[in-house]
């Protein structure tokens, strides 16, 4: 005798359900982005930055580089500010955690496609 499998009921019930996947680039509904997502790096609070270089020292992948402040930048105490070579960033968030003055952030902007490597230097 042919015995029915265990999954037939599940299959039939699934016919009326909506798809489990999201047609992502066209819609962002159902992506479940959590509030604490670690995504794009940002130099969020330059006024507080002292240029202490802790972020550069702790970065496990060498993504953060300290450069001299340009004319448009907020002048820090040491005259240096961090920039992020985002192509090397592993999104661990250690720089954010180690920053003593809450200068850096990992935002929840997760769409991180760039056309060239130069565009990936986040200032």
């Amino acid at each position: 005798m042919v015995r029915l499998g265990k999954m037939e009921g599940e299959l039939i019930r699934s016919i009326s359900k909506r798809p489990a996947t999201v047609i992502y680039p066209f819609t962002k509904d159902g992506l479940n982005i959590p509030p604490g997502l670690r995504a794009r790096w940002s130099y969020a609070n330059p006024d507080m930055c002292t240029g202490c270089k802790i972020c550069e020292r702790v970065c496990p992948s060498g993504a953060i580089e300290m450069v001299e402040c340009g004319p448009d930048d907020v002048r820090t105490k040491t005259g240096f500010r961090p920039i992020c070579h985002f192509d090397r960033c592993i999104l661990c968030g250690q720089c954010v955690e180690s920053c003593p003055r809450d200068v850096l952030r990992l935002t929840d902007s997760f769409e991180m496609a760039f056309l060239s490597r130069e565009d990936m230097v986040l200032r």
Partner: protein, 410 residues
């Protein structure tokens, strides 16, 4: 030049099928040389050591804090395993005790990771035996735990939850409620998949009696994790040598080590699905009994000279980090023994005596992140041909062979 007559003399009496070793993107490429007579595997030879990434050497040039993120990238699936185990190794070396709440959150991440890893394995096992419907359904439900981990840590794969001296993120009350809700759904779904694995003939007939690893052999070859527990060897670091909050879990008396005396792939499957349900219950217990308090302890970056061994029961078995510190910020030596390394040894025994069509599921049964082991050379003794086939084709052939050579259910 040899004549066809002479050539017949050097034809090997048995057909040899090398599987591997070049697998792009697999962290542990392995080489399996199967010697077959007809459809039966008469001998199997297993070789590893093709992928040298130099992680241990690289770790010596980085600080302990940076190494946490390097360790986490040893394995995409066991990222919390290596990250947490390294953190606890450094804490052992520094001889600091981390806060209780940190221990609970660390254990919670580990257990959630075990759930996702076991569901992943179950899907792969379904796929290897050609039961793709269950593969897709189980992976759909795996998204629940992936979302929970993302909610908890901020990342789907490399959680980065641990730091030296505790954990990096706290569990808020709202998050706790969301996690409990997700765990309810997971438990319901996993009970369903347990029934699918046991009562669905499509799966069961392909795994029952396949890849036998007797208890004695499992002990002798040093198998670990679900591979050993599926052969009735009671090895589970969570119960034998508990660290972090596992000591509380064991002392609560509500949880038991999952064992099976079947000794075949079916036994390993039962151990894994049952263990997933146990893990869901453990997570719920951890969330309900989580003590209040700080989540991290400050540890000086320079770790005193010490030599420690940290053990943790990863989803695949016992993971060992051996760490020597020298008083600086960097380790003097770090040696990692991943569980798959211990399980390779028993692999040759599992394969021997089985059908060639069973090779994909037997190889997948130790959960060696096998998805990338996708090149197979078939040397045909009669036609003097050498054929390079991907594992997908081997799987399709295996499934076709079973369609033609039906095994009656016992």
């Amino acid at each position: 030049m040899t004549t066809p007559d002479e050539r017949r003399v050097v034809v090997p009496p048995r057909v040899s099928i090398p599987i591997g070793p070049q697998h792009p993107a697999l962290k542990e490429p392995g080489m399996f040389r199967l010697t077959v007579e007809g459809e039966r595997i008469v001998d199997a030879e297993v070789n590893i050591g093709y992928n040298h990434r130099g992680i241990e050497k690289l770790a010596e040039s980085k600080t302990h804090l940076q190494n946490l993120y390097l360790m986490e990238r040893i394995c995409g699936i066991c990222s919390a395993t290596h990250n947490g185990n390294y953190a606890q190794a450094v804490e052992f070396a520094a001889e600091v005790e981390i806060p209780e709440r940190a221990k609970f959150i660390r254990t919670l991440t580990w257990e959630l990771e075990r759930i996702h890893s076991h569901i992943l394995w179950l899907g792969v096992a379904f796929h290897e035996v050609g039961f793709d419907t269950a593969f897709m359904y189980s992976w759909r439900d795996r998204e629940v735990v992936m979302d929970m981990l993302e909610d908890l840590s901020g990342n789907r794969v490399n959680y980065g939850m641990n730091t030296i001296g505790g954990v990096r993120r706290d569990v808020s009350d709202e998050l706790r409620l969301r996690l409990l809700k997700g765990l309810d759904k997971l438990e319901e779904r996993m009970e369903y998949y347990r029934d699918v694995a046991i009562y669905e003939k499509t799966f069961w007939d392909r795994v029952a009696g396949v890849g036998l690893l007797e208890t004695g052999v499992a002990k002798r070859t040093g198998a670990v994790g679900p591979t050993a527990r599926g052969s009735n060897v009671p090895v589970d670091v969570r119960f034998n040598d508990p660290t972090q909050a596992y000591a509380h879990i064991r002392d609560s008396g509500e949880f038991e080590m999952v064992l099976s005396d079947r000794c075949d792939v079916a036994g390993r499957s039962i151990v894994r699905v049952t263990e997933t349900i146990e893990s869901v219950r453990m997570c719920r217990w951890l969330l309900n009994n989580m003590p209040d308090g700080p989540i991290r302890e400050r540890v000086r970056p320079r770790i005193q000279p010490n030599e420690v061994l940290a053990r943790y029961e990863a989803p695949r078995g016992e993971c060992i980090h051996y760490l020597v510190t020298n008083g600086t910020q960097s380790p003097e030596r770090i040696k990692i023994r991943a569980p798959t390394h211990a399980n390779w040894v028993s692999m040759a025994h599992c394969l021997r005596g089985g059908y060639i069509a069973d090779a994909p599921i037997v190889l997948a049964a130790i959960d060696p992140c096998f998805s990338c082991t996708d090149r197979v050379v078939i040397v045909d003794a009669d036609e003097h041909t050498l054929e390079l086939v991907p594992l997908d084709v081997l799987r399709v052939r295996a499934n076709r062979w079973y369609k033609e050579n039906n095994r009656s259910s016992d």
